[in-house]
Point group: C2
Chain length 518, copies 2
């Protein structure tokens, strides 16, 4: 085609990865601080030089496009360096959960088959050595902390050529691997592309109001997409990323104060510890939190009060679609509306679109969506239906078109040929004035496979009869979805973080016979 | 490669164009108003149906991937429809300058070779008919306004199948063609991809604080990337685009008031007209302007006072890199810093990077950059150097790494083997207390090709001698850049919009012998 040949010179111009972003930051923000970690402070120019040296090390060891690089360590500025060096050579980088046991690490090693393993001596050296011993294939193990010798990260960096020329990496190339919830019995590594990560970073920048003056406390686990989103958003905006190997309240407080940090990912238990540690107001945390007592803090994403994601909290997402891909700050109700570069479809099992208001599976498409799971051809083939990624989650369109999350598809009840989603029935029951709490389960039935059963905690001083609740549901939804059986209880078993423990409800109230999903 | 085969199912998931964005908007914002134009008001759901019908019309007439669609008309909501319908079928859409004469339109028709021409009867019907007559090839001419019969836009839409299924279009596919400044003697159409346009839209959304409650007055020409940026930003955010065929002060004021518009692109002369028309305060323009008299308004982009691009104005860009690709609101000084998905390089003629502070050509790369010029294989080959787009503009890195625009490369002076950029020398001279205005030109020299000459307007009551200005420059820059000849004058010739008229200065002060660029 005439057009195609004429435009061919421009194709390489569009290849743009995280390595190109670093190239730019080293020039447009050369003397601004990029990373802080203990005694380490590096500018964007210094970070660029270190990353290029590390990429040279990788390249010298034969690591190229599609090869895997594994991180077995705690949070560190070197996680960002190793990610960026992998980006430079087109490799795939995975930060593993450093709390994993050697046997679990061996499963990951077998599955991910890394060419390079960055490992850590401090705290988890024994576990890492045990994993290495239990894994047969040869690969390059590089110790990132404290070790001397030829497998020492810093020594390799010091002796590496300061490489600066790398072949362009296509924007759509997979870069980050994050092991996510088990399907079919084993976890899989969702692969996010350079493009997806830059989109995610931009979303963080905009939604969390991150700019080049911001400082981000990387205190959550870096194998979590929500933490990486803040880290990469800060990197894109040209701010400072401050790393801590693990969460220790006084250390975090000290760092917030010293570096005047403005953003963070801090899980609730850590907030409680920090609150206690700062009860006397020893540390000035005013750059981050609005009150020194942290009295009102209950969410892990910490950002300025006037940030869009703070003014309108909430959203829907999963690692496989780049984290929160529908957000309340884009408008609407429920989980809000999709971010740029995403479309959603609520569909049936075959991927046919359902009318607004009907619950079905959430499908997503767009460059933010993962490139698939590493080494899972069957699952990848199953998860793509007519060009759409199936999330294995259930949702619906609210009357204003917003996305609402209904629940995970894995808790589906099968009654006859019909699928019933407990979350949808629970939602209907919660709208009844007599319901304080509820859990809907499937109980085995010889004829219908399963029946729908509601376990209800009634509100104090109410005594609506069972039939009343069934009629309430019949008026709100298709008849086959209504509970056939109602059982009352004083309270429902809960998980440590406060959700209803469905497995315990099944065990205590006769649940079972669920269909196999996925 | 094992990885590639395993990930193949996910490739179609990432194809995401403006058509997919419309698909999503029709669902997540189905009942919100998308476009307003005279008596026309359509929701996103209605717009989606109309676009799908129009795309069906295009498809039925054989328009597919890479085919061209030309718009010969004023601003209209149908420009957005035709753009989106082109997006759906993978075609390339060009909104031409509706003020062009028939002979100019024939040049565009010959060059762009459209399969479909949307043309307009009102005001410019005669010019369009003359252009059609002067152009030999057969194509489909569809009249978008007022005409009846088989080439009537609305009749075709009404009789079209309400198509909804279209093959996915790769994000990198060219979609928009904008004829831009002449190079090598004739204008060329810069092609921007779906991806570039979505990035541009996102930048408008963020920089101009556009959200789903915003209303954008499309009063600037839609063949200008700055206007399309606002239109597409509003489309991405889910706001209302309000179109006017041409700028008429009272009509604009009425629309602002009626629709409570919040954003606009209004050129300065139009603001003056509006100020006069609203001298009595007849119209309430408080949704858009902060004062009813528009007394302090001097820039075409109108947006809320607290929008990032309003708090930090300025930037550097060109249509070929998607408009402003460095902006002050990303931080820094001068023209600010690059937006996401862009890297810049200041390079010499061969594309080798120059040290910070040195002026050279601005190169850019990233998916926001154009896909090349339509039908210009030689120019496209010349404009890409080692994976970078050469802008034909001169710039430098400021001490803090920010981008500064120095001037267009086409005014380069050649002295011996050295390139001297007038804008750089002028900048040095302007820092001298005796200079009121200045223009640096090249004058022919038999030995050095050209000499550098400065034409200076001295400040009142100063009489610094010529040698003084030469010494001033010698202290600030490499010696070969300093002017060898100084001539004083009372005033410099200016263009109608107030820039120094370089051609007139050359003619009046002996300029000439410039090197051929490009």
């Amino acid at each position: 085609m005439k057009q195609h040949a004429a435009l061919a010179p421009y194709l390489p111009v569009h290849a743009y990865g995280l390595g190109d972003l670093l190239y730019e930051q080293a020039r447009s923000r050369h003397d601004m601080i990029a990373v802080i970690d203990g005694d380490h402070r590096f500018t964007y120019e210094q970070l660029d030089e270190r990353v290029n040296r590390l990429a040279g090390v990788l390249r010298a060891r034969g690591v190229g496009k599609g090869d895997r690089v594994l991180w077995l360590g705690q949070n560190s500025f070197r996680v960002l360096e190793a990610l960026l060096a992998s980006a430079r050579v087109g490799a795939i980088f995975c930060p593993a959960n450093w709390r994993a046991a050697p046997a679990e690490l061996n499963v990951i090693l077998d599955d991910f088959d890394p060419a390079i393993v960055f490992w850590q001596e401090a705290e988890i050296g024994d576990a890492n050595r045990a994993a290495r011993k239990g894994w047969k294939p040869e690969s390059n193990w590089i110790c990132h902390d404290g070790c001397a010798g030829e497998d020492s990260y810093e020594e390799l960096l010091a002796s590496a050529d300061p490489e600066t020329e790398f072949a362009p990496v296509e924007t759509s190339t997979p870069l980050l691997a994050i092991y996510t919830a088990a399907f079919s019995g084993r976890p899989g590594a969702a692969l996010l592309s350079h493009e997806s990560l830059i989109i995610i970073a931009w979303l963080a920048m905009q939604g969390q109001s991150i700019d080049e003056k911001s400082g981000y406390l990387v205190s959550g686990p870096m194998f979590h997409v929500g933490v990486l989103m803040g880290t990469l958003g800060t990197f894109l905006a040209g701010g400072r990323n401050a790393f801590v190997p693990r969460v220790e309240a006084n250390q975090l407080l000290q760092m917030m104060q010293d570096e005047k940090l403005t953003h963070a990912f801090v899980p609730q238990p850590t907030v409680v510890q920090m609150r206690e540690a700062n009860a006397g107001g020893k540390y000035d945390v005013s750059s981050l939190f609005c009150d020194a007592e942290l009295s009102d803090w209950s969410m892990p994403m910490v950002m300025p009060r006037d940030a869009p994601a703070m003014k309108s909290m909430g959203g829907y997402g999963q690692t496989e679609i780049g984290g929160l891909a529908a957000v309340a700050w884009m408008g609407g109700t429920g989980a809000g509306r999709p971010v740029p570069f995403v479309a959603f479809k609520i569909g049936d099992e075959q991927g046919n679109e359902l009318p607004r208001g009907e619950a079905g599976e959430i499908f997503a498409r767009g460059p933010i969506v993962m490139c698939g799971y590493w080494n899972r051809p069957e699952e990848n083939a199953r998860r793509v239906v007519n060009g759409w990624h199936r999330t294995n989650d259930l949702g619906k369109r609210l009357p204003d078109g917003s996305i609402a999350f209904v629940g995970p598809k894995t808790t589906m009840i099968k009654t006859g040929i019909e699928n019933v989603y407990p979350a949808e029935v629970e939602s209907a029951l919660r709208s009844h004035p007599g319901v304080a709490d509820v859990c809907v389960i499937g109980v085995p039935d010889p004829k219908w496979d399963q029946n729908v059963k509601a376990v209800i905690v009634r509100k104090p001083d109410t005594d609506f009869p069972a039939e009343h609740f069934i009629e309430h549901c019949r008026a709100l939804m298709a008849s086959y979805k209504k509970p056939k059986i109602i059982e009352f209880t004083e309270s429902l078993p809960k998980t440590p973080v406060g959700f209803v423990d469905r497995a315990a409800v099944d065990a205590g109230f006769g649940g079972g016979g669920y269909p196999k999903v996925g």
